[in-house]
């Protein structure tokens, strides 16, 4: 007991001395625990599905022998604990199992497709942040203190409408207008920079609308702060006032929300990739869900969950850097 409390005390001292690294450590521990949970969850998934996933994946008229062989190949006829051990050791060797449908290693599928998904997801996230921040800030400046109620209505209605538009509908609309109608962009496929425009647009619009609204609310809060009045008293140029005094202070709150938008954005790739025949994991995931190809679904859930967790971890660290007070509050 004494040793324990001694250690706690020592840790507390350490935490006071190095708030930043202690913060990082805490977050890293949390990340590790979360990853373990994702791992277990993804393993449990295949066993929660009612019915026989192998039969379902192989199709109505698959020969009974083929079904049994594939079950054996997947180790589904072994005890659960052995299966979990096998799953973990496989993961350690970079083996995510094989697809029920194609019989191909899932790891390879991920290796070839994940970059394409990360490409559009990262670009869409970047666009979301780059557009939503100025848009929300400008809207806040224009509508602060109840000014321009009509602008506020237009802003709210437009962002709400964009949020309410299912992204696959948006994707179809964009294709009809810009690709088929005006032939400005390629219709589908991952060929060159121009083919990125429509998928990224379809993916980013709704999160942009959501984030812009949040940024506006955050900015309104900041604009009403005393220190903004102090800055106004200094009669600084508008650019300096808003970029130096307002923007950094709304960044923390808004970035937290932006980090939470990431899972939604990743989920969006599932539908959007399909419309644009984008060769990423999203379209593969949609196909494997429909085809009940559980090893693929399982691995995708694992990887996407990991991507989201790691991204949130990085956002957290970034926030810690931007706002040192948050690391101290954690203590």
């Amino acid at each position: 007991m004494t040793g324990m409390s001694d250690m706690t005390a020592r840790l507390a001292v350490l935490a006071r001395r190095h708030p930043w690294s202690t913060f990082c450590c805490r977050r890293a521990v949390r990340l590790t625990v979360s990853l373990c949970a994702v791992l277990t969850g993804s393993f449990a998934m295949i066993h929660l599905i009612p019915g026989d996933p192998v039969r379902a994946a192989l199709g109505i008229d698959a020969a009974p022998g083929l079904v049994a062989a594939r079950r054996h190949q997947l180790g589904l006829d072994q005890p659960l604990v052995a299966q979990f051990r096998h799953y973990l050791s496989g993961l350690a060797h970079g083996d995510l199992g094989v697809s029920l449908v194609t019989g191909l290693p899932v790891a390879e599928l991920l290796r070839t497709r994940l970059p394409a998904t990360l490409e559009i997801a990262a670009l869409a996230f970047l666009c979301t942040v780059l557009v939503a921040f100025p848009a929300g800030l400008l809207a806040a400046i224009r509508t602060r203190d109840g000014r321009h109620p009509r602008s506020e209505l237009v802003f709210t209605a437009a962002t709400a409408a964009l949020t309410g538009l299912p992204d696959f509908v948006l994707a179809a609309g964009l294709t009809a207008g810009l690709a088929v109608g005006l032939e400005l962009f390629p219709i589908a496929g991952g060929t060159g920079a121009r083919s990125l425009v429509l998928p990224v647009l379809a993916l980013a619009l709704a999160p942009t609308a959501v984030l812009a609204r949040i940024v506006r609310v955050e900015a309104l809060k900041v604009l009403a702060e005393d220190y903004v009045r102090t800055a106004r008293a200094k009669r600084l140029p508008a650019v300096v006032l808003y970029l130096r005094h307002v923007a950094p202070n709304m960044l923390v709150g808004s970035l937290t929300i932006a980090g939470n938008l990431l899972p939604a954005l990743i989920a969006g790739t599932v539908l959007v990739e399909k419309v644009f025949a984008w060769p990423g994991v999203g379209s593969a995931l949609a196909q494997s869900v429909v085809a009940h190809d559980y090893p693929v679904v399982q691995a995708m859930a694992l990887v996407l969950g990991t991507v989201v967790l790691v991204a949130n971890f990085l956002v957290d660290l970034l926030l810690g850097l931007l706002d040192p007070r948050s690391t101290i509050r954690e203590m």
């Binding site: 026989d52 009974p64 194609t102 070839t112 496929g189």
Partner: protein
């Protein structure tokens, strides 16, 4: 989007259809507006495919669809259904044996000469039950056989353990893998080892896949060569899952050749695209005849079928003006003839029910011996976009008769479970595998139920089984009459109900080509126009 989902057929079914498609010969020529314009020499033709091709191994479930580009078979089937030459110049078959005489001078893509023993080895390899080669099994006869070769004479001989009607159209249509490929089967997934007009030269997981033209090829269907002007030097196959995206790409020239079915076809007509219709059957319906199920009663089954508005169902199944199905095989399948209209039960359903002992209860429900008729009607949009609507219309008709219908439109998983595991259905509106040969349907209509067999509806039609046994003894199309008698027996006892004769369409943008059964493009027939 939804169209795409629903077009994702159960993999096996799609694969089987593709196998058959690939193994048949030319059955249509494409008259297109651009056919008269000058051809492009050494051009690239882009082809769209709906799902990823995980393996190009022609014997696997996936590689069969594109096998025609890189592999040849012993014979081919021409547009009129006639058998024409392939690797073999001569062939003859009975119900228990077949002999093929090889064309001399055939070379594999690695330059080695193809010998008769290589072909025999390929046949033996592909039929090895231990290897579970789904793609090959779907093409080969369902009876065991042994293949022998006489290299000096260039002949391959096959003897089967039991009679089988279509030895030429099964053995003869198997893609032949060269010895190098058989030595290293794993390599076949991403490279080709065949004698075909193209060589798989580029593989990217998730597509695109690139085929390049071979020099000096002269053993195509009926002696077709690679020397014709306008034949593309490269064929690029891209994965485009969504039907409307495929249609958009065709309109803008993003792809040259693609198959489209469903509502998108209406906006592709009149846009200068070439089009070939490929017959299909929509909505093959089965009734659960297992013990304890109400539809084990043939009289009830017949009355329910008679109560249906087949023309209306066909409209709904086709999504416009449809044609009631004539058979459970497509109109271009072997032995196809119009049997359904004449043999499916018709007439006054109410009358038929009364005479079978079914009466209305006071609250209007249909009952017999005190038991009310409950029907579980299942379908899945995953096997056909219009099928839920077809099922809904059926349910309405039967509800009008007084039946209690539970309409279930589920995902494929649930559908397959209901059919193969729990047998928990009374009526299933599914898709037809679209087999070329009537013999391929036999395990679905007779034999053991799952898990030992595929007869999930528990059909026990002694007449059908007797006629099938006789038909299998008759070689090739000589048995068609018997095969159709067998099918007639199924229709008469309402064991199966095909809904509509439909079509999917293969479109060409500035490209002409011929297609075989199921819409497979014949590689040597492709011409690119400027």
């Amino acid at each position: 989007m939804a169209a795409m989902h629903r077009r994702t057929l159960p993999v096996r079914i799609a694969v089987v259809a593709a196998v058959i498609a690939a193994s048949a010969g030319c059955s249509g020529n494409l008259p297109t507006p651009s056919a008269s314009s000058p051809v492009v020499i050494g051009g690239t033709v882009r082809v769209a495919t709906a799902s990823e091709i995980a393996s190009f191994d022609p014997y696997s479930a996936f590689g069969t669809g594109t096998a025609r580009y890189a592999y040849d078979s012993l014979i081919n089937v021409a547009a009129d259904g006639a058998v024409v030459s392939g690797l073999a110049t001569n062939w003859q078959a009975s119900a228990t044996s077949a002999t093929f005489t090889l064309r001399p001078g055939v070379t594999c893509s690695d330059g080695t000469v193809l010998k008769a023993s290589d072909v025999a080895n390929a046949l033996t390899y592909a039929s090895d039950p231990g290897r579970q080669l789904a793609g090959a099994q779907a093409t080969l006869p369902s009876v065991p056989f042994t293949a022998t070769a006489d290299d000096p004479a260039g002949t391959v001989s096959v003897t089967t353990a039991a009679p089988y009607s279509f030895l030429t159209r099964t053995l003869g249509l198997l893609p032949i893998v060269c010895p190098a490929g058989l030595r290293d089967p794993k390599s076949l997934a991403r490279a080709s080892s065949g004698t075909g007009p193209y060589v798989l030269s580029g593989y990217t997981p998730g597509g695109p896949y690139v085929f390049t033209l071979r020099e000096g090829y002269a053993w195509g269907p009926g002696g077709a060569t690679n020397a014709a002007p306008g034949q593309p030097a490269r064929i690029v196959v891209s994965v485009v899952p969504q039907a409307s995206t495929v249609a958009n790409l065709l309109l803008t020239g993003g792809v040259n050749i693609a198959t489209v079915n469903g509502p998108d076809r209406s906006r592709l007509t009149g846009r200068g695209l070439g089009a070939v219709e490929v017959p299909t059957v929509v909505g093959l319906t089965f009734f659960n005849e297992r013990r304890g199920r109400p539809l084990g009663d043939p009289a009830l089954r017949r009355a329910l079928v008679a109560a249906l508005d087949r023309a209306g169902l066909a409209n709904v199944a086709a999504g416009g003006t449809g044609k009631a199905a004539t058979h459970f095989t497509a109109t271009d399948a072997v032995c196809h003839t119009d049997l359904a209209a004449a043999n499916l039960p018709a007439g006054d359903a109410e009358q038929a029910l009364r005479s079978a002992g079914w009466t209305r209860t006071t609250d209007g429900r249909l009952a017999k011996d005190g038991r009310v008729l409950h029907l579980r009607l299942i379908t899945s949009p995953d096997v056909g976009a219009t099928l839920p609507s077809v099922a809904e219309l059926m349910a309405r008709s039967w509800t009008a008769l007084g039946a209690q219908v539970q309409l279930v439109s589920e995902n494929l998983n649930a559908l397959v479970n209901a059919m193969y595991q729990e047998a928990n259905f009374d009526v299933v509106v599914g898709s037809t595998p679209g087999f070329l040969l009537p013999a391929a349907f036999v395990p679905f209509f007779s034999g053991p139920s799952p898990a030992e067999g595929l007869n999930f509806a528990g059909i026990d039609n002694p007449e059908y089984s007797r006629l099938v046994a006789r038909a299998l003894q008759e070689p090739d199309t000589a048995g068609c009459a018997t095969w159709n008698e067998a099918a007639t027996a199924l229709f008469r006892s309402a064991d199966t109900l095909p809904i509509a004769d439909g079509a999917s369409t293969v479109y060409g943008y500035r490209t002409t080509f011929a297609v075989g059964f199921g819409g497979a493009v014949v590689p040597t027939s492709i011409r690119l126009h400027g």
